[in-house]
């Protein structure tokens, strides 16, 4: 089927069967490779993107459900929350291998958009679906707190 997806503010024409996960359209057809494939079963969060501002797992989000939706990937995420999150991530050198971090950042932006001053428990529960095999969790937690402070300016 032929579809129009609005990704990072632009209308993109794609052809894909219903049931095609957004992940593969984004990566293999639109060349937005910042969104990562980690498990394919919504168990690791590496593929997290925003649909209408909410973090979702793009490996289990299907193209036919997305017409008219605003899709944002790591390449297109912007605004004060994203800027604070990315700045905090860099200041604390959160990354190791870095492969999960696009997803972590998209999830963290979701958290701080909903809860600007999260507690440790808020962070742990909101971020629990995002796996980091390098185990950078402690720094992610600290970076989210730092981003919250930056947002307050």
């Amino acid at each position: 089927m032929s579809l129009t997806l609005k990704i990072n503010g632009e209308d993109r024409q794609i052809t894909a069967d219903p049931g095609t996960p957004l992940l593969w359209v984004v990566r293999d057809e639109l060349n937005l490779t910042g969104t990562k494939f980690g498990c394919g079963v919504a168990s690791c969060g590496a593929c997290t993107v925003h649909v209408d501002g909410e973090p979702v797992r793009s490996c289990q989000t299907f193209v036919e459900d997305l017409e008219g939706a605003e899709i944002t990937t790591i390449e297109g995420v912007n605004g004060s929350v994203a800027a604070a999150v990315q700045a905090a991530w860099r200041e604390l050198d959160v990354v190791q291998c870095g492969y999960c971090q696009s997803g972590q950042i998209m999830q963290a932006v979701g958290l701080l958009s909903e809860t600007p001053r999260p507690t440790d428990d808020d962070i742990d529960s909101y971020m629990a679906g995002n796996v980091c095999r390098c185990a950078t969790y402690q720094r992610i937690r600290a970076a989210i707190h730092m981003a919250a402070e930056k947002m307050e300016g």
């Binding site: 990562k36 980690g38 690791c44 050198d93 990354v95 190791q96 870095g98 492969y99 095999r133």
Partner: protein
């Protein structure tokens, strides 16, 4: 593998010390200036605009080499850290060998250890010729020139390095460049130096192998034998041809499976699901886990090899016979998958002269000839473009370069007509073998009437990682694969009469080093058994370890005791905890580094909460203190996550775990605060990627025992009565 480097006089500051230290490195040869271009030596490029680029002979899997190696050259050149660029080296053993391996590759936590002097010398040599060229241009003495953030100055003169590149290329670099006095270091030891890979990994622009896209490229997945060692005998396309984006399906020449090609990864996966294949399982692993575990335990009764130097079971047996009491424990460690976040993948494309391999390539020295052999090319016709690797934990380095090999077969099966990217799914990864071997241990520790350890008989049964591989000569001696016994047969405690017996398990299933290799099980068995002995003897676990590491004339004991004492202090070991909470300690040397950890847990209505982990590490000179802390944090998480609840099991040779829900990784809520303390040192830098992992599991086990009295000797813990919150 344990790799030792000389430590004596390491930082006395002159190049001669370093040149003598580094096997096979001759500054003159390596640093010979080439034609008039910006590459001053194999490791340093300076562009006409002054941009410095550091060439990295080691790949980046998260361990921090892009920052670490760059620090060394930037330090010696007094470069501007913010503008230094990085580039991964091509595959070239002559220029880019790991000096501890003799060929190009990353592993064994050796990147910094083998590069420390080489990269400093390369930076110092490049600086020397650039400064000399500036001195000639300005008519001043080289000694009158200062450099700060890449800008050379003398009197009224000021210019960046790029100004002198052409002139410097005609100069002969010093054979023994003078290195900086460590007292003048600005970058080495700087705890606030930002990582070089931080920006690209936080805005989606960093390119991992999975992100490589080439014109006309097809994506491929492989339909593999469900049992290890199965051979493809035929396949039926079924509905695959109808999948949108399906390109082709081909049996691989080596019988390993069917390569299924698509215009997207999804198309290839969908088409593979529709294909049915037939296999010859006559040489396959067909056993199930209970049988495999029982087989390992049975091997403990009669060790094939003696692994501890100079001590036999007769010696330890006599001590145990005479002991007032004997503490006994049997340990069982499951297979574990590495499961790096980026599933394995590799892209191969034609060039004018051969092929180019795009890979987060850990062992170029093996990948290059392997791919060449499969494609009928000379190794020189195979180029490797190394890109970021999304984790490895050992998986991307294997002696048969399994996924590079598959990619080469898949490329060849399509006639070499199009670039092919071979992608593994997570299901492929967890079912794909190359696991941490299953290991069984039995410890028997004899105590005298005063609670002193008088003898220790230890036995291990595990499948050898190294036998039959190109690495066998390095680690297998008199039948003993050192990677099965490391950390135990050569442990540092002063224990009279400790014997270590080893038996090899054999299976068609391939096994592999997994972050910290043999230490991933030997440290657990050693440190938990010792804790049990301390308990039986009525001794404090820290005090007993301190006593067993008391010899000041023994550098190993002194340094391991150093981290033990530091962790005891920082964790408040001597401050009692309320009931329902417990601390556990473990210490271990691996990859040249000394690590001690204390884990603190609470018993919350019968479930364990991990409150805090305190870690002390002595890894010689701390080149990048924050990277070292990050590696300890990550190593601890890796160690703890797997002992908590992970295992790979098999039913009649087929892996039971399909995806992450069945091999549940450590997640953020699982673990509390981790504090890392680095012992100041002027010794040669040693490994940090792996040494954080071995003590974490046993420290947790010992903490659980302290809090609850439950002793977990069979893993994972969740299979043996422990629940976590």
């Amino acid at each position: 593998m344990t790799i030792e480097t000389s430590r004596r006089g390491f930082l006395t500051g002159v190049a001669a010390t370093g040149a003598a230290l580094l096997v096979g490195f001759t500054p003159k040869g390596v640093l010979a200036a080439g034609p008039a271009n910006a590459q001053l030596n194999p490791f340093v490029k300076v562009a006409a605009d002054g941009t410095l680029t550091v060439i990295l002979k080691h790949f980046e899997m998260g361990q921090g080499t892009t920052t670490g190696l760059t620090t060394l050259i930037a330090e010696e050149m007094d470069a501007d850290w913010a503008t230094v660029q990085i580039e991964f080296a091509p595959a070239n053993d002559a220029l880019y060998a790991n000096l501890l391996f003799g060929s190009q590759g990353t592993g064994g936590s050796t990147a910094m250890a083998n590069s420390f002097m080489q990269y400093r010398q390369a930076g110092a040599a490049a600086r020397a010729v650039l400064v000399q060229a500036a001195a000639q241009a300005w008519g001043v003495a080289p000694a009158d020139i200062t450099v700060d953030k890449g800008i050379l100055r003398a009197g009224d003169h000021s210019a960046h390095y790029g100004t002198f590149v052409d002139a410097a290329a005609d100069l002969t670099p010093p054979a023994e460049p003078v290195l900086k006095d460590p007292a003048a270091f600005k970058l080495i030891g700087n705890a606030t130096l930002p990582r070089k890979d931080s920006v690209g990994k936080t805005d989606g622009t960093a390119i991992f192998a999975m992100d490589v896209r080439l014109p006309d490229m097809v994506y491929a997945v492989l339909l593999r034998s469900p049992k290890f060692g199965g051979k493809l005998t035929g396949f039926t396309l079924g509905e695959a041809a109808g999948v949108q984006g399906f390109v082709d399906a081909k049996a691989l020449d080596n019988g390993a499976g069917v390569a299924v090609y698509g215009t997207t990864t999804w198309a290839a996966i969908q088409a593979r699901d529709a294909i049915t294949a037939e296999w010859d399982f006559s040489a396959s692993e067909t056993r199930s886990t209970p049988q495999i575990e029982a087989g390992h335990i049975a091997l403990l009764d009669a060790p094939q090899y003696e692994a501890a130097a100079g001590v036999t079971r007769a010696d330890s047996g006599a001590a145990l016979e005479a002991a007032a009491q004997v503490v006994e424990a049997e340990f069982l460690f499951p297979n574990l998958a590495h499961a790096p976040m980026e599933p394995l993948n590799c892209t191969i494309a034609a060039t004018e002269t051969g092929v180019r391999v795009y890979d987060g390539c850990q062992f170029p020295a093996l990948t290059k000839p392997t791919v060449a052999g499969i494609l009928g090319l000379d190794p020189e016709q195979v180029e490797i473009e190394t890109v970021y690797a999304g984790g490895s934990f050992g998986r991307r380095a294997n002696t048969v370069t399994d996924y590079n090999r598959e990619a080469a077969f898949a490329y060849a099966a399509l006639g070499g007509t199009r670039p092919v990217k071979l992608v593994w799914t997570r299901e492929d990864d967890l079912a794909g073998g190359f696991f941490r071997p299953v290991a069984a241990h039995r410890a028997r520790i004899g105590l005298d009437g005063d609670g002193n350890i008088t003898g220790w008989d230890h036995r291990i049964a595990a499948q050898s990682i190294m036998k039959g591989t190109p690495f066998e000569a390095f680690t297998v001696h008199d039948g003993v694969d050192h990677t099965s016994t490391e950390g135990l047969a050569d442990n540092l405690y002063a224990i009279p009469a400790m014997s270590v017996g080893l038996s090899d398990w054999t299976s068609p299933m391939p096994v592999l080093w997994w972050r910290s290799v043999g230490h991933s099980h030997t440290a657990y068995a050693k440190e938990v058994a010792l804790d049990m002995a301390a308990k039986a003897a009525g001794r404090d676990p820290v005090a007993l370890r301190r006593e067993l590491l008391a010899d000041d004339s023994n550098t190993d004991q002194r340094r391991l005791r150093g981290v033990l004492e530091l962790v005891a202090e920082k964790s408040g070991w001597d401050t009692p905890l309320p009931a329902g909470r417990g601390r556990g300690v473990a210490v271990h040397k691996s990859f040249g580094s000394y690590v001690a950890q204390v884990v603190e847990v609470s018993d919350i209505d019968g479930a364990i909460r991990i409150d805090r982990v305190v870690c002390a590490v002595d890894c010689g000179v701390a080149v990048n203190p924050d990277v070292i802390k990050a590696q300890m944090e990550g190593g601890i998480g890796f160690g703890i996550g797997h002992v908590m609840r992970d295992k790979i099991t098999m039913t009649e040779g087929v892996v039971d775990q399909a995806n992450f829900p069945d091999f549940e990784p450590l997640r953020m809520p699982d673990i509390g605060v981790i504090e890392v303390h680095i012992v100041p040192s002027t010794e040669a830098p040693t490994g940090v990627g792996e040494p954080g992992t071995p003590p974490a599991g046993p420290a947790l086990a010992n903490a659980i025992a302290a809090a609850t009295g439950k002793r977990i000797t069979k893993l994972p813990m969740t299979d043996h009565g422990i629940e976590f919150v």
